[in-house]
Amino acid sequence: MTILSFEELINKCNTENKKIYEIALEEESFIQDENFDVIKIKTLETLLAMKEAVKNGLKSTEKSISEWCGDDCEKLQKRYYTTASILGKTFEKIITYALATAEENLRMGRIVACPTAGSCGIVPSVIIAVAEEKKIPEIEQINGLMTAGLIGLIISNKVQLAGAVAGCQAECGVASAMAAAALTQMLGGNILEILQATALALKNILGLTCDPVCGLVEVPCIKRNAFLAIHAVTASELALCGVESKIPLDEIVDTLKITGQLMSPLLKETSQGGLAKTKTAIELEKKLFNNKQ
């Protein structure tokens, strides 16, 4: 039953004449041995927890334990209150919600790991902001989230979604690909367009390293959520216009895995290289350590 490749997924969708979220629903109901309604409710609970995290994140300016981050989301809200962003309201909301969620995460708030805690702001910000602006009903948001879930699951059957295994391309990169799929579904894209959006998002983030300063999920993780949320929108827009990736999605996932293997261990969540070993990062580390003692 396990779907191991996107080729398999397309064939299944075509032969059974089903949408990706319908396949997700069937698969999920089979493994959990529950009816469709139970799975839909579980997905709704996940969606509601995402919305709650955004709501809490928008209100708070509490700093993280390290005291480095936590007040950027407020800066965005202040500016957009008086000055519109050049790309409009949806863009403002997406980057604001992405930061709201990622900041909520670092202050030990309640979030949904999607696929990981470090990348928790990407899928929710895109789904929620677009749904609000385009007035997309809840059931379609659920369908979008389920689409993202199955896409992420198929990728994770090939490569473990952890910075320690394949760098940040496997966390924020995959989150962005999932968000692109969800968005394309919500905007009425067909199966090929959804998978093209996934492919375009993933392909254009290959090689992203994981080098968190002091090993904390803060620098560069938090702001990266805002960037990769917008990356997902770019991918979705291109796919909806009919732009296609020359390299098929399955081969891109294989490339992500191999790139992860080729990546130096110094750049895979060990904080032994990259940004974590810059002069400033080392100074921050010293300060943090002294404060702790």
């Binding site: 396990t2 334990i65 949904v112 696929p115 699951l153 994770s156 059957n157 002091c214 904390l216 999920v217």
Partner: protein, 217 residues
């Protein structure tokens, strides 16, 4: 290949900031609570390697304590756990030891039981040692753990009792310190067994410790 759920990528709902260092820590604490399975007044945590160095910024200490007190991974009060606990004496120490997993902890309860485990990624955990006996418990099965004096026939005696209840055994592992010395057995079960069964196992001669470990949510 084990079939995975879409909720392995769009969950868990948890308090941040890290699935391995926060959610994993809570689950290690919860597992230790389930293993000890009795009231306690004192707990010591020994954090190793990455848990020791970056645990502070990830709330690993709070997560471990909250877990052993029975909080679930998505409980917003974990953040303020230090301010709310008053009836348990807790302490933390920090060690670097490369022979251990990067995210590893020893949990010592009431100076009686030492439970060691690792947070292996994405909130998944593994309990690999209880009071010196190797284990491989990940919290996905209800598990019966017993410690006894090594002697022939113990496995069949225990499995007979379980089978009589029509409970299917998913896996069974044993180990011993020396022939005739202390031995341990842990049995993963498809469905939980009742306390009456646990009592029966406790009453077997030469069994000195039995615990019915509930799986994690």
């Amino acid at each position: 290949m084990e079939q995975k759920s879409i909720f392995s990528v769009i969950s868990p709902i948890m308090v941040g900031p890290s699935s391995s260092h926060t959610a994993g820590a809570v689950r290690l604490g919860l597992m230790a609570r389930n293993i000890y399975n009795a009231p306690f007044s004192k707990v010591k945590f020994v954090l190793y390697n990455s848990f020791a160095t970056t645990g502070f910024g990830h709330g690993t200490d709070k997560g471990l304590l909250a877990g052993i007190l029975g909080y679930q991974v998505d409980d917003s009060s974990i953040k303020n756990i230090f301010e709310t606990v008053n009836n348990v004496d807790y302490s933390f120490s920090y060690i670097q030891d490369i022979s251990r997993h990067p995210n590893s902890v020893d949990i010592i309860i009431d100076d009686k039981m030492t439970i060691s485990g690792d947070s292996v990624g994405a909130g998944e955990i593994r309990i690999n040692n209880i009071n010196g006996f190797s284990t491989d418990i990940n919290g996905s099965y209800d598990t019966l753990l017993l410690m006894y004096k090594d002697k022939p026939g113990m496995i069949s005696t225990v499995s007979d009792i379980i089978q009589k209840q029509k409970v299917n055994i998913a896996s069974l592992h044993c180990g011993r310190s020396s022939k005739g010395g202390q031995a341990s057995m842990y049995i993963a079960l498809d469905i939980p067994i009742g306390e009456d069964v646990v009592e029966k196992v406790k009453n077997i001669k030469d069994v000195y410790f039995v615990t019915n470990i509930r799986k994690l949510k």
